[in-house]
C-alpha cells in the first residue's frame, strides 16, 4: 500500500499543474481518494481516519503557527506605509548614481523587507510597487527588473526571522525527534532557533553574492538621461534609520533568545499597526481592506497546512513514509551522497510544489529517514532551506517568478527572464554547494556542547523496528503490508 501513496504524490503534482485548482484542494482531493481507496480495498480500517479532526485541532492550537497571520499583516502594512520607499531612497542616496545603484538598492530593500513581512508574495508585491518602476525609469530592461524583484523577494526565506524559516524549523523539530528516538542518539532536538542561527552565515554569503551580481548587471547598462534624481527627505532618512534599528532589535532579540520568533512577529505587526494609526494611514475603509486581505492571505496559507496535514495522515496510514524511510536508510554512500540525493528529490518536487507545500508534505516524509542517516540536523535544515529558496525561483512554476510575472505584467519572453535570472541562480547553487561541502558553515557560533553526539550501535533491523514504532500514526495500529 505504500506505493499507493507515491501514486498520490504524483497525482498531486499533475493535479496542481493540469487543473489549475488551488493546491490545497488538490491535496485534499488526493488525500480523500487515497483514504477511499484504502477503505474500499479493505487495507485501511475506517476508524483510523477519525484521527483527522484531532490533528486539525493540533494545528489550531499550535503556538508557532500564530506567527502566520502576524507576518501576513506585517507584509500588508509595509505595503501601505512609506517604509519601503524611505529605505529604498536612503540606500540609493549613499551609492554612486546609475542603474547599478538602483539594482543594488532594490536587492538591499528585499533583504530588509523580507524578514519583516515573512512571505515571498508580500515581498514581491512591495518590491514590484517600489522598485520596479524606478528600475524602468533608469532604463533597466524588463527581464532584469523581473529577475531582480523575484530574487530580492526570496531573500526573506533565508534571512531570519522569516515565515518559511519558522515553518521549516517546526517541521525539522518533528523530523529530528523521530530520528533521535529511532537511533537512540543523545542529540538535543533541533528547534526553530537552531535553524535561524544555522542560516545566518549562508544567508549572508548569498546576499553578498546577489549584491555583487546586481552591481555587475547594472554596470553593463547605460545611464538613463531622463532618470529623476531621487533624494530622500529628512523624514524618510529618519524613518529608514528607525526601521533598520528596529529590524536589528528584532533579529538580535530572536538570535539571542530574548523573545520567540512569534513574539518578534507580534512586535513588528503591533508597531507597524500603531504607526499606521498614528500617521492616519490606516483609517476606516483602508483598515477594513487590510484586515480582509490579511484574513484571505492567512486562509490561503492555512488551507495548505490543513490539506497537507490530511494528506500526510493518509500517506502514513498507507505506509508510504515507511516505504520512503526504507529506501533512504538503504541508500548506498555516505552522509554527503545521501543528503545530496534527498535534496535532489526535494528540488525535483519544487518544479510542481512551492516551498510551503514542500515543507508540509515532502519534508515530513523524506527528512526523518535522512536524519537517521545524517546526524547533523542543523546542516540538513540549512540545506533544505536553501533548496526551498531555489524552489521559489525555478521556472516556470517558481512562486516568486509567477508572482512577479503577474504583478509586473511581464510581457517579454520567458527565456529572457531565465537568462537574467541565471547569474542569481548560479550564486544560489554556489552557496548550496558550499554548505553541502562545508557543513561547518551552518555551525558558526554554535556551542560545543550542542555538537556532541553519541550514537549507540544498533542493527538495521532494530533501527527499522524503532522507526516503525515512531511512524505508526495511531497506537496499536499495524500498518498494512506493502
Amino acid at each position: 500500500m505504500g506505493y499507493a501513496g507515491l501514486v498520490l504524490l504524483i497525482a498531486v503534482g499533475l493535479g496542481i499543474v493540469l487543473t489549475g485548482l488551488p493546491a490545497a484542494i488538490v491535496l485534499i482531493g488526493a488525500a480523500s481518494a487515497g483514504a477511499a481507496f484504502g477503505v474500499v480495498s479493505g487495507a485501511v480500517p475506517f476508524a483510523l481516519l477519525s484521527a483527522l479532526p484531532g490533528r486539525l485541532v493540533n494545528l489550531l492550537e499550535n503556538d508557532l503557527l500564530q506567527a502566520l497571520p502576524l507576518y501576513v499583516l506585517m507584509g500588508l502594512l509595509l505595503d501601505r506605509l512609506p517604509v519601503a520607499e524611505a529605505l529604498y531612497k536612503t540606500i540609493l542616496s549613499i551609492l554612486p548614481r546609475g542603474p547599478a545603484a538602483q539594482l543594488v538598492s532594490g536587492m538591499s530593500l528585499g533583504a530588509l523587507l523580507g524578514p519583516m513581512n515573512g512571505s515571498v508574495g508580500a515581498s514581491a508585491l512591495g518590491l514590484s510597487r517600489v522598485v520596479a518602476p524606478r528600475l524602468a525609469a533608469h532604463g533597466v530592461p524588463e527581464p532584469t527588473r523581473a529577475a531582480l524583484v523575484a530574487v530580492a523577494s526570496t531573500l526573506g526565506v533565508v534571512i531570519p526571522p522569516s515565515l518559511v524559516l519558522i515553518l521549516l524549523g517546526d517541521a525539522m523539530l518533528g523530523a529530528h525527534t523521530i530520528a533521535v528516538t529511532a537511533t537512540g542518539r543523545s542529540d538535543r532536538v533541533i528547534n526553530t532557533q537552531d535553524v535561524f542561527h544555522g542560516a545566518l552565515a549562508p544567508a549572508g554569503l548569498f546576499l553578498l553574492l546577489c549584491l555583487a551580481v546586481a552591481w555587475l548587471a547594472g554596470r553593463r547598462l547605460p545611464v538613463a538621461a531622463a532618470a529623476a534624481d531621487e533624494k530622500p527627505t529628512t523624514g524618510q532618512v529618519l524613518l529608514a534609520i528607525v526601521s533598520v534599528a528596529f529590524l536589528l532589535v528584532l533579529l538580535g532579540g530572536v538570535a539571542l533568545g530574548l523573545f520567540y520568533a512569534v513574539e518578534a512577529a507580534a512586535m513588528g505587526a503591533f508597531i507597524l499597526f500603531t504607526g499606521g494609526l498614528v500617521t492616519r494611514r490606516l483609517r476606516g475603509p483602508v483598515l477594513r481592506e487590510v484586515l480582509a486581505q490579511a484574513m484571505a492571505m492567512t486562509g490561503a496559507l492555512f488551507a495548505l497546512l490543513i490539506a497537507a496535514t490530511t494528506l500526510t495522515l493518509v500517506l502514513r496510514i498507507l505506509g508510504t513514509d515507511k516505504l520512503v524511510a526504507d529506501w533512504v536508510t538503504a541508500l548506498p554512500g555516505g552522509e554527503l551522497a545521501t543528503a545530496a540525493i534527498v535534496l535532489g528529490v526535494v528540488g525535483l518536487s519544487a518544479f510542481v510544489l512551492d516551498a510551503f507545500e514542500i515543507i508540509f508534505v515532502i519534508v515530513p516524509i523524506v527528512i526523518p529517514p535522512l536524519l537517521i542517516r545524517v546526524a547533523d540536523a542543523r546542516w540538513v535544515a540549512v540545506l533544505v532551506l536553501l533548496t526551498l529558496q531555489t524552489s521559489f525561483l525555478l521556472p516556470p512554476f517558481g512562486y516568486a517568478l509567477m508572482m512577479v510575472r503577474g504583478t509586473l505584467r511581464y510581457s517579454a519572453p520567458l527565456a529572457a527572464l531565465v537568462r537574467a535570472l541565471l547569474p542569481f541562480l548560479l550564486a544560489q547553487w554556489l552557496v548550496l554547494a558550499t554548505v553541502l561541502l562545508f557543513p561547518q558553515l551552518a555551525h558558526l557560533g554554535e556551542k560545543e556542547s550542542d555538537r556532541v553526539r553519541t550514537s549507540p550501535t544498533i542493527s538495521r533491523e532494530e533501527l527499522n523496528r524503532r522507526l516503525d514504532d515512531m511512524l505508526t500514526p495511531i497506537p496499536d495500529f499495524a500498518p498494512p503490508s506493502r
Binding site: T19, P53, D63, A296, G299
Partner: protein, 162 residues
C-alpha cells in the same frame, strides 16, 4: 425561493467573515504583550497566550473560506489559464464537489464526538486551567461549516459566475 435562501446564506457567511477579520487585532496585541508580561511584569503571560490561542483558532477556521471567496488560494495556473472560462468553471465545481465536500463533511461528522464531549464539560486549558479550550475544538466545526456553506453557495451560482 432557493435563490433567496442562497443569497441569505451568502450574506450570513460574509457577515461572519466580516466580524472575524477583526479577531486579528486582539491576537496581535495579546501575542505582543506576552514578552513584557513574561519578562517584565512576570504574570499573566500564560493567560494572554490562552486567550490569544482560542481567538487564533477561530480566526484561522474562518480564514479558509475567506481565501476561497477572495480567490487567494495558491494555485499554479500557467497551463490552466489557457483553458476556456467554461472549462475552468467546471473544474472548480468538480474540485468543490469531489474534493472539498466529502472532506468537510467528514471533518464535521467525524469531529462531532471530539467537539461535543469538549463542549459538554466546557473543557479548560490543560496546563493553566483557564476557560475556553473547548472553543479551539469548536473551531473545527466552524471551519468545516463555513467550507460547506461556501460550497453550497458556489455550486448554486449560475454557470460562469463561480
Amino acid at each position: 425561493m432557493t435563490s433567496r435562501l442562497i443569497g441569505g446564506l451568502d450574506r450570513l457567511v460574509a457577515a461572519i467573515l466580516g466580524a472575524g477579520q477583526w479577531f486579528l487585532l486582539p491576537v496581535v496585541a495579546l501575542l505582543f504583550l506576552q514578552w513584557p508580561l513574561r519578562d517584565i511584569v512576570r504574570a499573566w503571560s500564560r493567560d494572554a497566550n490562552d486567550l490569544g490561542q482560542w481567538l487564533f483558532a477561530l480566526y484561522v477556521a474562518m480564514a479558509f473560506t475567506a481565501a476561497t471567496r477572495a480567490h487567494t488560494h495558491l494555485a499554479a495556473d500557467a497551463l490552466a489559464r489557457r483553458y476556456s472560462d467554461g472549462a475552468r468553471t467546471w473544474i472548480a465545481r468538480l474540485g468543490a464537489l469531489l474534493c472539498l465536500l466529502p472532506w468537510a463533511s467528514f471533518v464535521m461528522i467525524g469531529g462531532a464526538k471530539l467537539v461535543v464531549s469538549s463542549l459538554g464539560v466546557l473543557e479548560v486549558f490543560p496546563d493553566t486551567y483557564n476557560p475556553g479550550y473547548f472553543v479551539i475544538k469548536l473551531a473545527i466545526w466552524l471551519l468545516s461549516g463555513l467550507i460547506l456553506a461556501q460550497i453550497v453557495i458556489d455550486l448554486s451560482r449560475p454557470r460562469g459566475s463561480a
